[in-house]
């Protein structure tokens, strides 16, 4: 399923739509280059689940837990986990098989541990169609 976005707000709204199919235990893998809109996407999901706080980049924290929404949201950034071996990622299991929704930026870096029913979303740019143009592919 492919969506077209012309800016961060579009990305957020597309994310809101996709979020309606997410439930407890859902895992979403977000891939896309720097600035593609992965965090904007997470903001859309957070809006759908009525999280009123700040959605910020978890690059340094590795995971941000957003409480108070309709479902617990776990926002990961696996960028710094690129060279970790699977034993060092064991703590992530409690989130992946927990009671909330996992949203993982740069998920491809921790691919070996992603559950079978992970939803893969790829956000790509196309310079020929403008700086704000994005294709959001749901696999």
């Amino acid at each position: 399923m492919k969506y077209i976005s012309f800016g961060p707000n579009d990305t957020k709204n597309i994310a809101k739509e996709i979020a309606s199919s997410l439930k407890e235990g859902s895992v979403v893998a977000l891939s896309g280059e720097l600035g593609a809109g992965k965090t904007a996407f997470v903001r859309g999901v957070a809006d759908y689940f009525e999280f009123s706080g700040d959605v910020t980049s978890p690059t340094f924290t590795l995971v941000n837990e957003y409480d108070g929404a309709k479902l617990p949201l776990y926002h990961f950034d696996a960028y710094r986990l690129e060279n970790a071996n699977t034993d060092e990622l064991d703590w992530i299991d409690d989130y992946l098989f927990g009671e909330g929704v996992c949203l993982i930026e740069w998920a491809e870096f921790i691919n070996p541990i992603l559950p079978k029913d992970t939803l893969y979303i790829e956000i790509s740019k196309d310079a020929t169609k403008g700086d704000d143009y994005r294709e959001i592919l749901v696999k």
């Binding site: 064991d90 098989f97 070996p112 541990i113």
Partner: protein, 226 residues
């Protein structure tokens, strides 16, 4: 002799004080897995309501796994910290052995199972208080094959997601009652007591988690596919 025990490896967070004969105090909270937030207040009330001081404890025992990776670390770290501060010895107890202990008088096989996710369970088999195999991770179907024809009682968190599958394969399977189905620290203390009698004690520094990593085949298979 006073033994303090803790188990945060599974869904219940539990702590207890045992004097070698009597369980003096025990907390068990099986509500939401927020062990890191709830275990210290539990331990504080455990001691204050028992009118005991942490410094009165002679041995610090922890369930060291298998179980939730984060959960295992919370329990082990708590015990290491307390024991190190007081310069007291520790005892390492298998989560599965502590689960099985209260059912030692069952005439068949006592079979604790914990959900290891990724289609595997953590398990060990016990009978009359004796261990029949080491702690391991395996597919539930493989375990059920091993148990064919045996009289078995099941317990542990793994029972909840897998009860139907177990009954399908073993219609005569028995399940422990609610209070014995889950990990309780009093049991960690009792198993620790037996180990202390055999001289199996460790320093706080030596106490480590005992994870069971899932089979490499599972991991490599995932690595191969993108």
């Amino acid at each position: 002799m006073l033994i303090f025990g803790i188990d945060t490896c599974c869904s219940a967070a539990t702590s207890a004080i045992f004097d070698g004969e009597k369980l003096l105090a025990q907390t068990v909270i099986n509500h939401k897995k927020t062990h890191s937030q709830k275990i210290m207040p539990q331990i504080e009330s455990l001691f204050s309501l028992s009118e005991l001081n942490v410094s009165d404890i002679d041995y610090f025992a922890a369930a060291v796994g298998p179980g939730s990776f984060t959960g295992v670390r919370i329990g082990v770290a708590t015990v290491k910290g307390m024991a190190q501060a007081l310069n007291k010895p520790c005892v390492s107890v298998s989560t599965l052995e502590a689960l099985a202990y209260p059912l030692s008088s069952f005439s068949g096989i006592v079979c604790p199972i914990l959900d290891a996710r990724r289609e595997q369970v953590y398990n060990a088999k016990f009978k009359s208080g004796e261990r029949l195999c080491p702690d391991r991770a395996l597919a539930l179907s493989e375990l059920l094959d091993e148990l064919k024809g045996e009289k078995v009682i099941f317990l542990g968190d793994g029972v909840f997601p897998y009860k139907d599958e177990i009954l399908k394969a073993m219609p005569d399977a028995v399940f422990a009652p609610a209070t014995l189905k889950m990990n309780i620290a009093g049991s960690v203390c009792e198993v620790a007591y037996e180990k202390i009698m055999k001289g199996e004690i460790l320093s706080a520094k030596e106490l480590t988690p005992s994870y069971i990593r899932l089979s490499q085949a599972e991991q490599s298979a995932k690595d191969g596919e993108i």
